[in-house]
Symmetry: C2
Subunit: 241 residues, 2 copies
Protein backbone atom coordinates (compact mmCIF):
# COMPACT_ATOMS: atom_id res chain seq x y z
CA UNK A 1 0.00 0.00 0.00
CA UNK A 2 1.23 3.49 -0.80
CA UNK A 3 1.43 5.70 2.24
CA UNK A 4 -0.19 9.12 1.85
CA UNK A 5 1.70 10.86 4.64
CA UNK A 6 0.98 14.42 3.55
CA UNK A 7 -2.80 13.90 3.70
CA UNK A 8 -2.56 12.97 7.38
CA UNK A 9 -4.14 16.06 9.03
CA UNK A 10 -1.67 16.23 11.90
CA UNK A 11 1.36 15.84 9.64
CA UNK A 12 -0.08 18.22 7.05
CA UNK A 13 -0.60 20.97 9.61
CA UNK A 14 2.95 20.58 10.95
CA UNK A 15 4.50 20.39 7.51
CA UNK A 16 2.72 23.38 5.96
CA UNK A 17 3.62 25.54 8.98
CA UNK A 18 7.24 24.40 8.71
CA UNK A 19 7.47 25.16 5.00
CA UNK A 20 5.79 28.55 5.45
CA UNK A 21 8.49 29.47 7.97
CA UNK A 22 11.03 29.26 5.14
CA UNK A 23 13.55 28.12 7.77
CA UNK A 24 14.00 24.54 6.64
CA UNK A 25 16.49 22.02 5.32
CA UNK A 26 14.72 22.41 1.97
CA UNK A 27 15.35 26.16 1.83
CA UNK A 28 18.97 26.11 2.97
CA UNK A 29 20.39 22.74 1.97
CA UNK A 30 18.41 20.84 -0.62
CA UNK A 31 16.79 23.39 -2.94
CA UNK A 32 19.82 25.65 -3.56
CA UNK A 33 21.84 22.63 -4.69
CA UNK A 34 18.90 21.13 -6.57
CA UNK A 35 18.29 24.35 -8.52
CA UNK A 36 22.00 24.68 -9.31
CA UNK A 37 21.74 21.40 -11.24
CA UNK A 38 18.73 22.43 -13.36
CA UNK A 39 19.48 22.96 -17.05
CA UNK A 40 18.15 26.04 -18.87
CA UNK A 41 14.36 25.91 -18.54
CA UNK A 42 13.52 28.21 -21.46
CA UNK A 43 10.60 26.75 -23.41
CA UNK A 44 10.90 23.36 -21.69
CA UNK A 45 8.08 20.91 -20.97
CA UNK A 46 8.66 19.66 -17.44
CA UNK A 47 7.30 16.85 -15.26
CA UNK A 48 7.58 17.37 -11.48
CA UNK A 49 7.10 14.09 -9.58
CA UNK A 50 5.95 14.66 -6.00
CA UNK A 51 5.42 18.40 -6.53
CA UNK A 52 3.78 18.95 -3.12
CA UNK A 53 2.51 22.51 -2.86
CA UNK A 54 4.12 23.53 -6.14
CA UNK A 55 6.99 25.86 -5.13
CA UNK A 56 9.47 24.20 -7.49
CA UNK A 57 6.88 24.15 -10.29
CA UNK A 58 6.30 27.90 -9.85
CA UNK A 59 10.06 28.54 -9.78
CA UNK A 60 10.58 26.63 -13.01
CA UNK A 61 7.86 28.66 -14.69
CA UNK A 62 9.56 31.87 -13.56
CA UNK A 63 12.74 30.51 -15.13
CA UNK A 64 11.03 30.23 -18.51
CA UNK A 65 9.53 26.72 -18.59
CA UNK A 66 6.72 26.51 -21.17
CA UNK A 67 4.67 23.96 -19.25
CA UNK A 68 4.93 22.10 -15.96
CA UNK A 69 2.96 19.02 -15.03
CA UNK A 70 3.04 18.62 -11.26
CA UNK A 71 1.99 15.33 -9.73
CA UNK A 72 1.44 14.39 -6.10
CA UNK A 73 -0.35 11.73 -4.10
CA UNK A 74 -1.62 14.30 -1.57
CA UNK A 75 -4.86 16.21 -2.22
CA UNK A 76 -4.09 18.54 0.68
CA UNK A 77 -0.66 19.49 -0.64
CA UNK A 78 -2.03 20.11 -4.13
CA UNK A 79 -4.79 22.30 -2.65
CA UNK A 80 -2.01 24.75 -1.64
CA UNK A 81 -0.34 24.80 -5.04
CA UNK A 82 -0.39 27.99 -7.14
CA UNK A 83 -2.85 27.93 -10.03
CA UNK A 84 -1.41 28.99 -13.35
CA UNK A 85 -2.45 28.33 -16.98
CA UNK A 86 0.96 26.76 -17.70
CA UNK A 87 0.85 24.38 -14.71
CA UNK A 88 -1.29 21.27 -14.71
CA UNK A 89 -1.64 19.21 -11.54
CA UNK A 90 -2.37 15.50 -11.39
CA UNK A 91 -3.36 13.91 -8.09
CA UNK A 92 -1.98 10.38 -8.30
CA UNK A 93 0.75 8.29 -6.66
CA UNK A 94 3.68 8.60 -9.06
CA UNK A 95 3.69 4.82 -9.58
CA UNK A 96 0.30 5.13 -11.32
CA UNK A 97 1.25 7.86 -13.78
CA UNK A 98 1.23 7.08 -17.45
CA UNK A 99 2.57 9.31 -20.24
CA UNK A 100 3.55 8.63 -23.82
CA UNK A 101 7.27 8.15 -24.49
CA UNK A 102 9.36 11.23 -25.38
CA UNK A 103 6.97 13.61 -23.61
CA UNK A 104 9.26 15.78 -21.48
CA UNK A 105 12.44 17.84 -21.83
CA UNK A 106 13.02 17.62 -18.10
CA UNK A 107 11.81 15.44 -15.23
CA UNK A 108 12.40 16.67 -11.69
CA UNK A 109 11.64 15.10 -8.33
CA UNK A 110 12.53 16.74 -5.04
CA UNK A 111 12.70 14.47 -1.97
CA UNK A 112 9.96 12.12 -3.12
CA UNK A 113 11.70 9.03 -4.53
CA UNK A 114 12.57 7.69 -1.05
CA UNK A 115 8.83 7.09 -0.60
CA UNK A 116 8.74 4.80 -3.65
CA UNK A 117 9.10 1.04 -3.27
CA UNK A 118 10.05 0.12 -6.84
CA UNK A 119 12.81 2.56 -7.73
CA UNK A 120 14.13 0.77 -10.82
CA UNK A 121 10.63 0.55 -12.34
CA UNK A 122 10.16 4.29 -11.78
CA UNK A 123 13.55 5.04 -13.39
CA UNK A 124 12.64 2.99 -16.46
CA UNK A 125 9.40 4.96 -16.82
CA UNK A 126 11.16 8.30 -16.39
CA UNK A 127 13.77 7.37 -19.00
CA UNK A 128 10.95 6.47 -21.38
CA UNK A 129 9.03 9.71 -20.76
CA UNK A 130 12.13 11.84 -21.45
CA UNK A 131 12.86 13.11 -24.93
CA UNK A 132 16.31 12.33 -26.35
CA UNK A 133 18.70 14.88 -24.91
CA UNK A 134 16.35 15.49 -21.97
CA UNK A 135 17.41 15.60 -18.33
CA UNK A 136 16.41 14.12 -14.99
CA UNK A 137 17.24 15.97 -11.74
CA UNK A 138 16.17 14.33 -8.49
CA UNK A 139 17.00 14.45 -4.80
CA UNK A 140 16.46 11.82 -2.16
CA UNK A 141 17.40 11.18 1.44
CA UNK A 142 21.07 10.21 1.67
CA UNK A 143 21.71 6.49 2.23
CA UNK A 144 23.81 7.43 5.26
CA UNK A 145 20.59 8.78 6.82
CA UNK A 146 18.29 5.97 5.78
CA UNK A 147 20.59 3.03 6.56
CA UNK A 148 19.78 2.33 10.23
CA UNK A 149 16.59 0.39 10.79
CA UNK A 150 15.24 2.98 13.23
CA UNK A 151 16.77 5.94 11.33
CA UNK A 152 17.78 7.40 14.71
CA UNK A 153 21.25 8.41 13.67
CA UNK A 154 22.69 10.99 16.04
CA UNK A 155 24.40 9.53 19.08
CA UNK A 156 24.56 12.01 21.96
CA UNK A 157 26.50 12.12 25.19
CA UNK A 158 24.78 12.55 28.54
CA UNK A 159 24.70 16.32 28.09
CA UNK A 160 22.92 16.05 24.75
CA UNK A 161 26.05 16.85 22.73
CA UNK A 162 26.06 15.10 19.35
CA UNK A 163 29.06 12.79 19.22
CA UNK A 164 28.70 11.24 15.77
CA UNK A 165 26.14 9.77 13.39
CA UNK A 166 25.55 6.03 13.58
CA UNK A 167 25.35 3.74 10.58
CA UNK A 168 24.09 0.18 10.58
CA UNK A 169 22.27 -2.21 8.19
CA UNK A 170 23.63 -0.32 5.17
CA UNK A 171 23.35 -3.35 2.87
CA UNK A 172 19.83 -4.16 4.00
CA UNK A 173 17.72 -2.22 1.52
CA UNK A 174 14.01 -1.74 2.00
CA UNK A 175 11.49 -0.27 4.41
CA UNK A 176 12.48 2.07 7.23
CA UNK A 177 9.90 3.26 9.76
CA UNK A 178 10.46 6.45 11.66
CA UNK A 179 8.60 8.90 13.84
CA UNK A 180 8.33 12.26 12.07
CA UNK A 181 5.43 14.13 13.72
CA UNK A 182 3.40 10.95 13.28
CA UNK A 183 4.35 7.32 13.78
CA UNK A 184 5.34 4.89 11.10
CA UNK A 185 6.51 7.25 8.39
CA UNK A 186 7.74 4.83 5.76
CA UNK A 187 10.74 5.48 3.53
CA UNK A 188 12.89 3.07 1.53
CA UNK A 189 16.62 2.72 2.11
CA UNK A 190 18.73 2.16 -0.98
CA UNK A 191 22.52 2.14 -1.20
CA UNK A 192 24.18 4.92 -3.18
CA UNK A 193 25.28 2.29 -5.71
CA UNK A 194 21.64 1.22 -6.17
CA UNK A 195 20.55 4.82 -6.72
CA UNK A 196 23.24 5.38 -9.35
CA UNK A 197 23.01 2.02 -11.10
CA UNK A 198 19.21 2.34 -11.35
CA UNK A 199 19.68 5.54 -13.35
CA UNK A 200 22.35 4.00 -15.60
CA UNK A 201 20.39 0.79 -16.19
CA UNK A 202 17.41 2.83 -17.37
CA UNK A 203 19.64 4.07 -20.20
CA UNK A 204 20.43 7.53 -18.78
CA UNK A 205 23.91 8.95 -18.34
CA UNK A 206 25.00 10.35 -14.95
CA UNK A 207 26.02 14.03 -15.28
CA UNK A 208 26.70 14.90 -11.64
CA UNK A 209 26.07 13.82 -8.05
CA UNK A 210 25.79 16.36 -5.22
CA UNK A 211 25.82 15.92 -1.44
CA UNK A 212 24.78 19.45 -0.59
CA UNK A 213 26.14 21.57 2.23
CA UNK A 214 24.09 24.34 3.89
CA UNK A 215 24.26 27.84 2.44
CA UNK A 216 25.90 30.65 4.44
CA UNK A 217 22.45 32.15 5.11
CA UNK A 218 21.26 28.76 6.30
CA UNK A 219 24.14 28.38 8.76
CA UNK A 220 23.25 31.80 10.17
CA UNK A 221 19.50 31.23 10.48
CA UNK A 222 19.63 27.56 11.46
CA UNK A 223 22.83 27.01 13.47
CA UNK A 224 22.05 23.30 13.76
CA UNK A 225 22.78 22.99 10.03
CA UNK A 226 26.46 22.86 10.94
CA UNK A 227 25.76 19.18 11.54
CA UNK A 228 25.24 18.81 7.78
CA UNK A 229 29.02 19.09 7.48
CA UNK A 230 29.33 16.06 9.75
CA UNK A 231 26.97 13.82 7.76
CA UNK A 232 25.00 14.56 4.59
CA UNK A 233 21.18 14.49 4.59
CA UNK A 234 20.55 14.44 0.86
CA UNK A 235 21.93 13.24 -2.42
CA UNK A 236 21.02 14.94 -5.69
CA UNK A 237 21.59 13.31 -9.07
CA UNK A 238 21.43 14.79 -12.54
CA UNK A 239 21.31 12.50 -15.58
CA UNK A 240 20.75 12.91 -19.32
CA UNK A 241 19.09 10.80 -22.00
Amino acid sequence: MKQNLYDNPEFFEYYTRLRESKITFNDFVEQPAFRSLLPSLEGKRVLDLGCGSGQLAAYMLEQGAAQVIGTDISTRMLSLAPQHPQIEYIQLPMEELDFPGNSFDLVVSSLALHYIEHYEVMMQKIADWLKDGGQLVFSTEHPIVTAKLDKEGWIEDEGGERLYYAIDHYSQEGIRRAHWVVDDVITYHRRISTLINGVIESGLRIDAVLEPEPTAEGLEKMPQLVNELRKPSFVIIRASK
Copy 2:
Protein backbone atom coordinates in the same frame (compact mmCIF):
# COMPACT_ATOMS: atom_id res chain seq x y z
CA MET B 1 55.41 14.16 0.42
CA LYS B 2 54.18 10.83 -0.85
CA GLN B 3 54.08 8.17 1.82
CA ASN B 4 55.69 4.86 0.90
CA LEU B 5 53.86 2.73 3.45
CA TYR B 6 54.53 -0.62 1.83
CA ASP B 7 58.32 -0.14 1.97
CA ASN B 8 58.16 0.24 5.74
CA PRO B 9 59.81 -3.07 6.89
CA GLU B 10 57.37 -3.67 9.77
CA PHE B 11 54.30 -2.95 7.65
CA PHE B 12 55.66 -4.92 4.71
CA GLU B 13 56.25 -8.02 6.82
CA TYR B 14 52.75 -7.84 8.28
CA TYR B 15 51.10 -7.14 4.94
CA THR B 16 52.83 -9.87 2.93
CA ARG B 17 52.01 -12.43 5.61
CA LEU B 18 48.38 -11.29 5.60
CA ARG B 19 48.05 -11.50 1.83
CA GLU B 20 49.76 -14.92 1.73
CA SER B 21 47.11 -16.21 4.15
CA LYS B 22 44.50 -15.59 1.43
CA ILE B 23 42.04 -14.85 4.26
CA THR B 24 41.58 -11.14 3.67
CA PHE B 25 39.06 -8.44 2.79
CA ASN B 26 40.75 -8.32 -0.63
CA ASP B 27 40.12 -12.01 -1.29
CA PHE B 28 36.51 -12.15 -0.08
CA VAL B 29 35.09 -8.66 -0.53
CA GLU B 30 37.00 -6.37 -2.85
CA GLN B 31 38.57 -8.57 -5.55
CA PRO B 32 35.52 -10.71 -6.42
CA ALA B 33 33.49 -7.54 -7.06
CA PHE B 34 36.38 -5.79 -8.78
CA ARG B 35 36.94 -8.69 -11.18
CA SER B 36 33.22 -8.90 -11.92
CA LEU B 37 33.44 -5.38 -13.36
CA LEU B 38 36.40 -6.08 -15.67
CA PRO B 39 35.57 -6.06 -19.38
CA SER B 40 36.83 -8.85 -21.67
CA LEU B 41 40.63 -8.77 -21.41
CA GLU B 42 41.40 -10.62 -24.66
CA GLY B 43 44.26 -8.86 -26.44
CA LYS B 44 44.02 -5.77 -24.22
CA ARG B 45 46.86 -3.44 -23.23
CA VAL B 46 46.37 -2.74 -19.52
CA LEU B 47 47.78 -0.27 -16.99
CA ASP B 48 47.61 -1.34 -13.32
CA LEU B 49 48.13 1.63 -10.97
CA GLY B 50 49.35 0.53 -7.53
CA CYS B 51 49.86 -3.08 -8.63
CA GLY B 52 51.58 -4.12 -5.38
CA SER B 53 52.85 -7.68 -5.68
CA GLY B 54 51.17 -8.21 -9.03
CA GLN B 55 48.32 -10.66 -8.31
CA LEU B 56 45.78 -8.69 -10.33
CA ALA B 57 48.30 -8.22 -13.18
CA ALA B 58 48.89 -11.98 -13.29
CA TYR B 59 45.13 -12.64 -13.23
CA MET B 60 44.52 -10.27 -16.14
CA LEU B 61 47.22 -12.03 -18.16
CA GLU B 62 45.53 -15.39 -17.48
CA GLN B 63 42.32 -13.82 -18.76
CA GLY B 64 43.94 -13.03 -22.09
CA ALA B 65 45.45 -9.55 -21.69
CA ALA B 66 48.20 -8.95 -24.28
CA GLN B 67 50.30 -6.71 -22.05
CA VAL B 68 50.12 -5.36 -18.51
CA ILE B 69 52.12 -2.45 -17.19
CA GLY B 70 52.12 -2.61 -13.41
CA THR B 71 53.23 0.42 -11.42
CA ASP B 72 53.86 0.81 -7.72
CA ILE B 73 55.71 3.15 -5.39
CA SER B 74 57.01 0.23 -3.30
CA THR B 75 60.22 -1.54 -4.29
CA ARG B 76 59.52 -4.28 -1.74
CA MET B 77 56.06 -5.02 -3.12
CA LEU B 78 57.36 -5.11 -6.69
CA SER B 79 60.14 -7.49 -5.59
CA LEU B 80 57.40 -10.06 -4.90
CA ALA B 81 55.65 -9.62 -8.23
CA PRO B 82 55.65 -12.47 -10.78
CA GLN B 83 58.03 -12.00 -13.68
CA HIS B 84 56.50 -12.55 -17.10
CA PRO B 85 57.44 -11.36 -20.61
CA GLN B 86 54.04 -9.71 -21.01
CA ILE B 87 54.22 -7.79 -17.70
CA GLU B 88 56.38 -4.72 -17.30
CA TYR B 89 56.81 -3.14 -13.86
CA ILE B 90 57.54 0.51 -13.20
CA GLN B 91 58.61 1.59 -9.72
CA LEU B 92 57.22 5.12 -9.36
CA PRO B 93 54.54 6.94 -7.40
CA MET B 94 51.54 7.00 -9.74
CA GLU B 95 51.53 10.81 -9.70
CA GLU B 96 54.87 10.75 -11.55
CA LEU B 97 53.88 8.40 -14.35
CA ASP B 98 53.80 9.73 -17.87
CA PHE B 99 52.38 7.93 -20.92
CA PRO B 100 51.32 9.12 -24.36
CA GLY B 101 47.59 9.70 -24.84
CA ASN B 102 45.48 6.77 -26.14
CA SER B 103 47.92 4.17 -24.79
CA PHE B 104 45.67 1.71 -22.95
CA ASP B 105 42.49 -0.29 -23.51
CA LEU B 106 41.99 -0.62 -19.77
CA VAL B 107 43.29 1.11 -16.65
CA VAL B 108 42.77 -0.63 -13.31
CA SER B 109 43.61 0.42 -9.78
CA SER B 110 42.79 -1.68 -6.74
CA LEU B 111 42.70 0.13 -3.36
CA ALA B 112 45.43 2.63 -4.23
CA LEU B 113 43.66 5.90 -5.13
CA HIS B 114 42.87 6.70 -1.48
CA TYR B 115 46.61 7.22 -1.01
CA ILE B 116 46.64 9.94 -3.70
CA GLU B 117 46.28 13.61 -2.78
CA HIS B 118 45.26 15.04 -6.16
CA TYR B 119 42.47 12.75 -7.32
CA GLU B 120 41.09 14.98 -10.08
CA VAL B 121 44.56 15.42 -11.63
CA MET B 122 45.02 11.64 -11.64
CA MET B 123 41.58 11.13 -13.27
CA GLN B 124 42.44 13.62 -16.03
CA LYS B 125 45.66 11.72 -16.75
CA ILE B 126 43.91 8.35 -16.76
CA ALA B 127 41.23 9.66 -19.15
CA ASP B 128 44.00 10.91 -21.44
CA TRP B 129 45.92 7.60 -21.33
CA LEU B 130 42.82 5.60 -22.25
CA LYS B 131 41.99 4.84 -25.86
CA ASP B 132 38.52 5.81 -27.09
CA GLY B 133 36.16 3.07 -25.97
CA GLY B 134 38.57 2.04 -23.22
CA GLN B 135 37.60 1.39 -19.60
CA LEU B 136 38.68 2.37 -16.10
CA VAL B 137 37.94 0.07 -13.15
CA PHE B 138 39.08 1.22 -9.72
CA SER B 139 38.34 0.55 -6.08
CA THR B 140 38.95 2.77 -3.09
CA GLU B 141 38.08 2.87 0.59
CA HIS B 142 34.43 3.79 1.04
CA PRO B 143 33.80 7.39 2.17
CA ILE B 144 31.77 5.99 5.07
CA VAL B 145 35.02 4.43 6.33
CA THR B 146 37.31 7.37 5.66
CA ALA B 147 35.03 10.17 6.92
CA LYS B 148 35.91 10.33 10.63
CA LEU B 149 39.13 12.17 11.39
CA ASP B 150 40.52 9.26 13.39
CA LYS B 151 38.95 6.60 11.13
CA GLU B 152 38.03 4.64 14.29
CA GLY B 153 34.54 3.79 13.19
CA TRP B 154 33.14 0.87 15.18
CA ILE B 155 31.50 1.87 18.45
CA GLU B 156 31.42 -1.02 20.91
CA ASP B 157 29.56 -1.60 24.14
CA GLU B 158 31.34 -2.52 27.34
CA GLY B 159 31.38 -6.19 26.36
CA GLY B 160 33.10 -5.42 23.06
CA GLU B 161 29.93 -5.91 20.99
CA ARG B 162 29.84 -3.69 17.92
CA LEU B 163 26.84 -1.38 18.19
CA TYR B 164 27.13 0.67 15.01
CA TYR B 165 29.64 2.47 12.81
CA ALA B 166 30.24 6.15 13.54
CA ILE B 167 30.37 8.87 10.88
CA ASP B 168 31.63 12.38 11.39
CA HIS B 169 33.39 15.11 9.34
CA TYR B 170 31.96 13.69 6.12
CA SER B 171 32.19 17.03 4.28
CA GLN B 172 35.74 17.66 5.41
CA GLU B 173 37.79 16.12 2.65
CA GLY B 174 41.52 15.57 2.97
CA ILE B 175 44.08 13.75 5.06
CA ARG B 176 43.16 11.03 7.54
CA ARG B 177 45.79 9.47 9.79
CA ALA B 178 45.26 6.03 11.24
CA HIS B 179 47.18 3.30 12.97
CA TRP B 180 47.41 0.22 10.73
CA VAL B 181 50.31 -1.89 12.03
CA VAL B 182 52.36 1.33 12.01
CA ASP B 183 51.42 4.86 13.08
CA ASP B 184 50.37 7.66 10.79
CA VAL B 185 49.14 5.72 7.79
CA ILE B 186 47.85 8.53 5.57
CA THR B 187 44.80 8.21 3.34
CA TYR B 188 42.61 10.88 1.77
CA HIS B 189 38.90 11.12 2.48
CA ARG B 190 36.70 12.15 -0.45
CA ARG B 191 32.92 12.19 -0.57
CA ILE B 192 31.20 9.74 -2.90
CA SER B 193 30.06 12.72 -5.01
CA THR B 194 33.68 13.84 -5.37
CA LEU B 195 34.75 10.36 -6.47
CA ILE B 196 32.00 10.19 -9.08
CA ASN B 197 32.21 13.77 -10.34
CA GLY B 198 35.99 13.49 -10.72
CA VAL B 199 35.47 10.63 -13.15
CA ILE B 200 32.75 12.48 -15.08
CA GLU B 201 34.70 15.75 -15.25
CA SER B 202 37.65 13.90 -16.77
CA GLY B 203 35.35 13.09 -19.70
CA LEU B 204 34.60 9.47 -18.80
CA ARG B 205 31.12 7.98 -18.46
CA ILE B 206 30.11 6.10 -15.31
CA ASP B 207 29.08 2.51 -16.17
CA ALA B 208 28.48 1.11 -12.68
CA VAL B 209 29.21 1.64 -8.99
CA LEU B 210 29.54 -1.29 -6.56
CA GLU B 211 29.58 -1.41 -2.77
CA PRO B 212 30.63 -5.03 -2.47
CA GLU B 213 29.34 -7.54 0.04
CA PRO B 214 31.41 -10.53 1.21
CA THR B 215 31.22 -13.78 -0.72
CA ALA B 216 29.61 -16.84 0.87
CA GLU B 217 33.07 -18.42 1.22
CA GLY B 218 34.29 -15.24 2.88
CA LEU B 219 31.49 -15.26 5.44
CA GLU B 220 32.38 -18.84 6.29
CA LYS B 221 36.14 -18.34 6.60
CA MET B 222 36.06 -14.84 8.12
CA PRO B 223 32.90 -14.60 10.27
CA GLN B 224 33.70 -10.97 11.08
CA LEU B 225 32.88 -10.11 7.46
CA VAL B 226 29.22 -10.13 8.47
CA ASN B 227 29.95 -6.56 9.57
CA GLU B 228 30.39 -5.64 5.90
CA LEU B 229 26.59 -5.88 5.68
CA ARG B 230 26.35 -3.18 8.35
CA LYS B 231 28.66 -0.66 6.66
CA PRO B 232 30.56 -0.95 3.38
CA SER B 233 34.37 -0.88 3.31
CA PHE B 234 34.90 -0.28 -0.40
CA VAL B 235 33.47 1.39 -3.43
CA ILE B 236 34.29 0.19 -6.94
CA ILE B 237 33.65 2.30 -10.02
CA ARG B 238 33.72 1.36 -13.67
CA ALA B 239 33.78 4.06 -16.34
CA SER B 240 34.26 4.22 -20.12
CA LYS B 241 35.85 6.69 -22.50
